[in-house]
Structure formats: C-alpha cells, structure tokens
C-alpha cells in the first residue's frame, strides 16, 4: 500500500493551511508544554520520581482528579436537567435563566471563590445552616467539589442544549404510536440520542475542573494532605523557587489529563462507529 500524505482534493490551500495550523499549535501549545518537560528533566530520574510521588503530592492528585470527576459527574446529571428544562418548557424568565447559565464562564474565578467561601463558611448563610447538621463545606474537600461544580456547570448545559433542540418531535411521536410510554421514550429514544453530547459535556467539564485554581484556593482551606489541590501545590513550589519540582508535578498532571481525555475521545469515537455514523479509517 502506498502512503499518500496529501489526499487529492478540489479545495485549494492544503499546504498553506496545514502549515499554519501546525505552526500555530506549536507556538501556542506545544512549545510552552515542551518547556515544562525540559524544566522537569533538569532533575535526575530519581529526584523526579521522589518529587512526584511524595505523599503530599499523591494526596493532591487524588483530590484534584477525584473532585473533578465527581463535579463533572454531578454536572452531567444536573446540567442535563437544566438543558432539558430550557429546551422543553416555555416559562417566564426563561431567557434570564438561560443567560445565568453562562455566568460561571464570565465571572473571574477568584470572585467565584471568594463568594463561595463567604457563603459556605461557618458564618455564611448556607454554612451556618449546615453546621448544626454536622456538615462542613468550606475548607474541606467538599468545598473543592462545590467550587468545581460551580465553574463547570455551563459545559454540560451548552453541549446538550443544541442536541436536545435538534431532536425531532416526530421521533417521539413515532415511538408513542408504536406503543412506548413516556418512560420508554425517554430511555430508549431520547437518552441514546443525547448520550454522545452528554459525554462531550462531561469531558469538557472534567477538563475544566482539573485545571481550576482560582475559585478552589479560596474555599478549600488548602490543608496539606486534606484539601490541597495539585495546581496549588505547583504554585507553592514556584513560590519556594523550586522550578524543577513544580515542572515535574505539572508534567505528571499533564500526562494524566491527556491520557484521560484521549480515553474519553476514543470511547466517543468507538460509540459513533458502533452506530455507523463514522467509518473506521
């Protein structure tokens, strides 16, 4: 088989645009990331391994990835409900609610962090009410999850919403005429149709939550081994002029994030091939 780099196409400008794409991605994404790697490999392998597997660092991975996963999962459920309500039902103030969804996108994350910390701390409104029940949110891992849920809400809503809007009412009517009840229509017809969008929304929310820093540090309390996230650990290493250590932890985070996103993308593609929407290339 002859490998052909350039597929014949009537669209002009393949060389130019591909060159631009690669150049741009290199400049904006790859070169800075490569710097992290070179910085990290100033350390010997032994030093590197000790830095990235220190108990405090391991605890921070668990918190960062665990909280991000939980937050993305929670938002997949509730974000779906928000999208469903916004698409399916007319109600007064709908546009306002629709606009509110985007607020976490626009708000500086530090503002979100301060606000959340204020409201969930033991003298804030919600924190005050929850304390007699034995629930502490601010300055605990729970607080981290709350902050991540807040900042990653729009991702699921905004990816599911257009797909829900595009669903034809006729498909549901067809299912009903074939004898399916509301529940069966939802689980057998609607849900499978939006599942890819839900997965995409989950991925975006998850990716965003892994990288979140600003809002979390205010509400987390940042206790080592308990409520300290990896990005904060990196910052504190930088503050101690431990550039190589910061880079080493960054590299580990980078690799884990990349592998997770790759895995989800492969899952997505596999499910599309299963449905014959895409062919194996």
């Amino acid at each position: 088989m002859i490998f052909r780099f350039r597929q014949p196409s009537v669209l002009p400008g393949f060389g130019l645009t591909l060159g631009f794409t690669l150049g741009y991605l290199g400049l904006i994404v790859l070169i800075p990331l490569a710097m992290a790697f070179t910085q990290a490999f100033h350390l010997s392998w032994d030093q590197f391994w000790r830095t990235v597997t220190a108990p405090r660092v391991l605890a921070s991975y668990r918190l960062t990835f665990g909280a991000a996963f939980l937050a993305a999962t929670i938002n997949t459920g509730f974000g779906f409900i928000v999208a469903w309500v916004l698409v399916r039902y007319p109600f007064p103030g709908k546009r306002l609610v629709d606009a509110l969804v985007d607020l976490p996108f626009a708000l500086p994350t530090a503002v979100a962090g301060i606000t959340l910390a204020a409201i969930y701390s033991s003298n804030g409104w919600i924190g005050h009410a929850l304390e007699p029940l034995g629930m502490k949110i601010a300055f605990t891992p729970l607080g981290v999850i709350v902050a991540l849920v807040f900042i990653s809400l729009p991702f699921v809503v905004r990816t599911v919403q257009p797909v829900l809007e595009d669903l034809e009412a006729e498909v549901e009517e067809a299912a009903a005429s074939l004898g399916a009840d509301r529940w069966q229509i939802f689980w057998r017809v609607l849900f499978p149709a939006i599942r890819p969008a839900l997965l995409t929304g989950f991925t975006l929310a998850f990716a965003r939550a892994i990288g979140e820093y600003g809002s979390v540090i205010f509400i987390a309390g940042n206790l080592p081994m308990v409520s300290e996230i990896t990005p904060l650990l990196i910052v504190s290493k930088l503050e101690q002029y431990d550039y190589s250590g910061a880079a080493a932890v960054s590299v580990v985070m980078l690799v884990i994030s990349f592998l997770l996103l790759l895995l989800i993308n492969l899952l997505q593609r596999w499910s599309r091939i299963q449905r014959g929407w895409e062919t194996v290339i």
């Binding site: 009517e173 067809a174 009903a176 005429s177 074939l178 004898g179 009840d181 057998r188 499978p192």
Partner: protein
C-alpha cells in the same frame, strides 16, 4: 377497521384548521386526503392517530369512541414524511421497537421478535440491510423501513403523512406502486395525506379532497376527476380552462356559445364560470351549425412527447385557452400558430358565482344538435 369522523373541529390560535369534518373511511380501503398545503389534511390525520386532539367532534374506530384514547392505545401505525427513524438503532432494532416496548406479559420472545422482523424486512424487500443504521440508507429505503416498523405492531389502521414527499420523482413513482401492491396484499385500512393529485389518483381507492379545513368532495378517483363537485375540486385535480359565462333560465352563454344547464333552471342572468378540461375540447377548422363553437386563433403549438398542447386566443374576448390532444390526432391535421379555428368543448361545467359550491355533477347537454358528451 372502519373509521367514523363526526363533526371534527380544530383551531390553532385564530387559524381554523378543521371546520366540521364528517367522514367515513370504510374498512380495508386505501384513502387519500388530498388538498393544498394548509388545508388541514395533516391535522386530520394526526387527530385520527391521537397525536393531536380535536377541540370538538368524535373519532369512532369500528363504531367505538376512540377520541379519548391515547396514541399508544389506538393501534395505529404512523409513517412520517421525514421517516422519523431512530438514528441510534440498527434497522433491525427500529423495526423491533414496537415489540420490545410491550409490557412484559404480552412481549414476544427474542426468537419470535427475530422472526417477525425478518418477515417484515422481507415484505419491504430490505432484509439485507438489517444490521445497517438509518443514516446508511437512501430515502426510499428509509421510508420502507419506517413502514415495516409501523406494521410490526400489527396496527388496525395505517396512517401515512406525505410518505413520498421527501423523495425524488422516480423513487416516488416506484414506491407509490409498491404501496398499492402492499395494500392489496394486506388489506389494512389506510389513510395517506398528499398534495400530489397524480399520486392520489394513481394509488387511492377513495379520494377526499380538502380545502380550508372542509371536505370538498369524497369519491373514487374517477368520480372526483370526471364529476368534480365544486370549482375547487375542478381546479385542483388536473388543468382547466375558465370561461366567463352568464346563465339564464337553464341556459349558459359563453361568448357565442349556448349550453343547456338544467341544474341552473332558476338562475336569471346570473354571472357564472364555465370549466373545461384541456383534453375535453375539440378543435375544428370550420364552424358547426348552431351555437356550439367559439372562434379562436392558435397562438402557440407545443409538442410534449405523447401530447400536443395548443394555446388559443379567443377572438372577441382575448381570453386564453389551452387544448391538449394526442400526437396522432394532431399529426392527422397539423395546425399551425396563427390559424383561425373553432373550438368545441365536449364537456363543460358551469358554476354560478353566488352558489359556486352547490353545483351538482350533471353532464351538460348542447343546445344545437344535442350530441351530448
């Protein structure tokens, strides 16, 4: 199963979609609801299916009131214009859907479902696509799968909403004939909506012509074409020529032409319209005795395959008329543009302006020699 529709009325906002529909669809027939867009035909079909509810009126299935029944309990198969297949399911699962969602007690076993789906796919001649997905099929194939899916639940009534509307002409013609044959095999009471008169004439046992939320006429294809009950039906089915006319005491006058119209015996100098189909006109070189012909000039001759169409301008009024004749007949005496000729309508219907809906389908008689149709 027979369907009785009584006094059906439906409004969307200020728009009256159905205005007092009374209709009986006999069991086992293939009935076309024909009309221009916005005439209420799709609304009527959706109300029969239970996808829409009427503001007033009743639907009886086999004499039993079904107006309050949910769509799930009506035992109707519905086929949509844009197929409405489940994109994430294979063709097999699409067809099996209606069986799989049954309550456990009456759900067939997997083996039974497999057999049933296989039989249906063979019926629609598509058993080889069972494992494909709808996006991999052509429009015509998708619609046949949609039909197989609707038939899987063994519906008492099959309802089709412009089933061939989204397909190209050639596929549409094929599917039309195929649907007719399928119906002849299954004899399931079927109603299909169309705005294509050719489709309705070719496929249906009975045609219901609708306009503005009302039924204009119901009858066999031949009845509605040959004896339209109203000017609307006349215009909607096939081409027509319109002539201004005046009716007095049972006689209509069209230009120099006099025609007896017994159904308008009591009209006095009433303005009216005369309707003639292009193929119901003879073109003569010489005038006939008596007032049976109109002088005209040929302004254009078009040869359209097996047909020849002449465009005529009537001498005094300047009104344009179209005449169609077979190629053979044209070649026997080829007329040219500019020739002076005399046209003689073989069949013509007169509708008065004021009660234009009331005219009854009586073949007209000619004044002079009385040679009828």
């Amino acid at each position: 199963m027979s369907i009785d529709i009584q006094g059906l009325y439906k409004r969307f906002g200020h728009f009256v979609a159905l205005d007092g529909i009374n209709l009986t669809i006999p069991a086992g027939q293939l009935v076309a609801l024909l009309g221009p867009s916005g005439c209420g035909k799709t609304t009527l079909l959706r109300i029969i299916a239970g996808l829409e509810t009427a503001d007033r009126g009743q639907i009886l299935f086999n004499g039993e009131d079904a107006s309050r029944r949910q769509v799930q309990d009506r035992q109707v198969g519905f086929v949509f214009q844009h197929y409405a297949l489940f994109q994430h399911m294979s063709v097999f699962e699409n067809v099996a859907f209606g069986l799989r969602v049954r309550p456990r007690a009456c759900r067939p076993s997997d083996a039974q479902i497999r057999d049933k789906v296989q039989t249906l796919l063979e019926l629609v001649q598509l058993s080889w696509v069972a494992n494909r997905y709808p996006s991999q099929l052509s429009g015509g194939q998708r619609q046949r799968i949609a039909l197989a899916r609707a038939l899987a639940v063994e519906p008492q009534v099959l309802l089709l909403d412009e089933p061939f509307g989204a397909l190209d002409t050639k596929v549409r013609k094929e599917l039309r004939r195929w649907l007719r044959r399928l119906h002849d095999d299954l004899h399931i009471t079927s109603v299909f909506v169309t705005h294509d008169q050719e489709e309705a004439l070719e496929v249906a046992d009975q045609i219901v012509v609708m306009n503005r939320g009302c039924i204009e006429q119901m009858g066999s294809p031949q009845e509605v074409y040959d004896a339209p009950a109203t000017p609307f039906v006349y215009q909607f089915l096939g081409n027509i020529n319109l002539f201004h006319s005046r009716v007095h005491a049972g006689w209509a006058k069209v230009g120099g032409l006099r025609v007896q119209v017994p159904e308008h015996d009591d009209a006095e100098y009433a303005p009216a319209m005369a309707y003639v189909r292009p193929h119901d006109i003879d073109v003569l070189r010489e005038p006939e005795d008596g007032d049976t012909t109109l002088p005209a000039t040929i302004s254009r001759v078009s040869l359209l395959g097996s047909l020849v169409r002449l465009e005529l301008t009537q001498a005094p009024s300047g009104e344009i008329a179209e005449v169609e004749m077979t190629r053979e007949r044209y070649l026997a005496d080829p007329l040219q543009a500019g020739d002076l000729v005399f046209v003689k309508p073989r069949q013509l219907r007169v509708f008065l302006y004021d009660n234009s809906r009331a005219g009854s389908p009586v073949p007209m008689r000619w004044s002079g020699d009385g040679d009828g149709i």
